[in-house]
Amino acid sequence: MWDVVEAALDAAEFAGASYADVRVVTAREHSVSVADSRLDAAATHESSGIGVRVIADGSWGFASTSEPGTAAATAVARDAVAVARASALVARDPVRLAPVQAHIGTWIAPSERDPFTVPLEEKVELLLAADAAMKTVDAIKLTRATMGFYEVHKYFASTIGSRIEQRYTESGGGIVAYAIADGEVLTRSYPNAHGGDWAQGGYEVVEGFDLLANAPRVAEEAASLLGADPCPSGTMDLIIDGSQLGLQVHESVGHPTELDRVLGDEAAFAGTSFLRLEDLGTLQYGSEHVSITADATVRGSIGSYAFDDEGVPAQRDYLVKDGLLAGFLSSRESAPSIDRTSNGCMRADGWNRIPLIRMNTVSLEPGTWSLDDLIADTERGLYVETNNSWSIDDKRLNFQFACEIGWLIENGVKTRMVKSPNYTGITPRFWSSCDAVCSRDHWKVWGLPNCGKGEPMQVAHVAHGAAPARFRGVEVGVGR
């Protein structure tokens, strides 16, 4: 494969590129899904190709093709240079990249049981058993059980001399029970909503979820929601479970700290950020209980890698430290705007996409509380679990999340279940209201394989570590 990579690099330089990097990527996907006691899908997908990114005449160009071989690689490299020269027709300052050392190496993420060799019958049997266990509850009218697997093998080379090979496998899955009656659809998921939970590793990841053992509880909770009271409307203290808080971190810390958004590169599509470059080190993002890291080295996380897609080594960096804005997610092009080098966050969704600044494992660092103590310490509040819906404005300020389930907290006791709880807030005001974060005993990394960004749309696999935390005086029950 290196011959194809070298051919593309040579062609790009010969055509006039002042910088070039080449990625050859082969990705395999396998998905199995069961719905309502029948197999919904059993499929595999393979995709491979080459993407060449160049700077020529001071501007970027990128071209990609699925056609194999050195001839196609050479042609696509020349196309990339032609595209870059066209970019230069509407340019400002020439592109400047933060320095990075050349790296030569191979990284293979740990994985125990190859999910692509586990018999399909075994997977279907597990999903159908979990499905049947949910169906034992009368009110459950619809069920879904899914599992999926990715295997990625990529070669990266750049004109500064890097030659990097990386391989990893990701596995995930989950179950969903739908209680449906009188025009109401109430959902309960495990271990997380929107496709379950995901981690780097093999089939052992899915086995570790123990979907079958959790299916009856999931179904019972969904059925109970039909008879639950609506979420009250008003302002109250809010305790958010780790999975929902992971998404809260994602939307209201991860995305706004992407430096390309801050610089306006995504303005027309996903939006910008309320953060400005000059906020670094001065903006109070949250309370002193809020420290948030971006870490590409967390073992087993789908946000982990050894090198990003610019050949920058994986790092751990603070985005928020003790409430203060401490960093941004950056790239080689954007990092000079804050007088830093890249912290290695550039990743592409396959051979046919350019790398963009993406989250890795962006986590709320654990605090000291136990969940029981936190609830006991809350006089009047709401405890919510598992995301149902999310929305945030184009500057990442005004958010609204809906969850699958909630319980009122009255005089320090978790009491009545409520259905369809939601809450809304403004990002720095919300994080400043955080007065307690649970301890590492409650902390877990949640895999999120569906982070959309960019045009053409790219889907990144990211992760978030979080433990339950409390926020004072939050508006809940919006529009209820």
Partner: protein, 446 residues
Amino acid sequence: MTPMSAIDAQALAVRAVGLTEADEAEAVVISSDTALTRFAENRIHQNVTEHDTTVSIRAVLGTKNGSASTNRLDDESLAACAAAAVAAASASPADPEFPGLPEPRPVTVREDTLEPIGFGPVERAEAVRSIVEQSAIRGLVAAGGVALSTDTVAVANSHGVDVGSKVSTARATVLSSGEGAGTGWASHFTPSTVGFDPAAIGDEAATLALRTSSPSDLAPGDYTVVLAPEAVADILDFLGYVGLSARSYVEGRSFMSGRLGERILSDAITIVDDALSAESCGLSFDFEGQPKQRVALVDSGITCTPVTDSYWSARTGMPNTGHALPAPNSIGPLPRDMQIAPGDASLDSLIRSVQKGVYVTRFHYVNVEDPVPVTLTGMTRDGTFLIENGRLTAPLKNLRFTQSAIAALGKVHGVTEERRLFQTMLGSALVPGLLIDAWAFTGQTG
């Protein structure tokens, strides 16, 4: 790289079917050539092209299904893909309700209109320059993109289905903003570069940006709204996604479930899915090679029917409307070329009829909180105005809404005659502007 012809794609699909040793087989070929020039801060910052062809094979053994796909097109890779599909089917449990792959039906193939070869990277850059200049001369900055794509799609199956077509689109977006200004938005989406006027959309966005400076607050509450067509497209898209599929209908997750033939929406609202209309960019057949039908989804506020594919047609007894997605499909059939019928008003006349209300240019980050009433939440952006005494008076800060689309579309009191085509999550939407009596704004940014 040049786009694959429909004939070549059909030949590839037929070859893939022939390689699949199963009771029944289906192959879908999608060959895409796309180019996108993105700009921000008045300069091109991303400029990409892509060429890819994927073959997806569905194998059927009795009533057992399995699927596999690849973008390697050599004989060995295609044979391995076919074998993987057969192996998946072999290991799958039987589905007694699977009706078998569909038989061939006549398909009218649309003529391709776009010539992307004549609109290469230099032409895209020139278009960007024309867009950006409109902001730059006003001291503003522009961001957006100019995209061209050609998709060649072919479907074949072992019963003789053998169809192919090439569809193309041209799309451009521009967001203008700057110091002392708000943000303004304009977009273009057509099946052809004919009629694409980059300077015009650049001017539209920059003009709007200048009008939205110093936005005012608005207290949360129910307001009369005039939704510009792009805002309507977003609402219609979610309505289609959660409510207009035979699958969500059968599963009780649709506003139509158990309510066909009822007047649920305003009588001013008629919704059809029509890939065959002159304005549409869609394929004239679905991913099972069945002809897409013009489907009346809602007629003068009365629910008519969801869209189907072969599987959900058999399960419901409804006709196959030709709305299958590629196999394996765990979503169900979806309407991808929806339209709302025009009315007789103009946007100006709708605004003039409002004593106090809100004008919305477009929405941002809409999501579903409750599927049956299609309760949505999202934000306004890039041109939200207070309407007072029939005039747009003050720009407003971006507003959050939490609103049932079904309830809102039950209170429509004006529909524009002019409609516009937009690219959406599902495909495309041809929509007018709407006057809606009550829309719940539940918060604002700032």
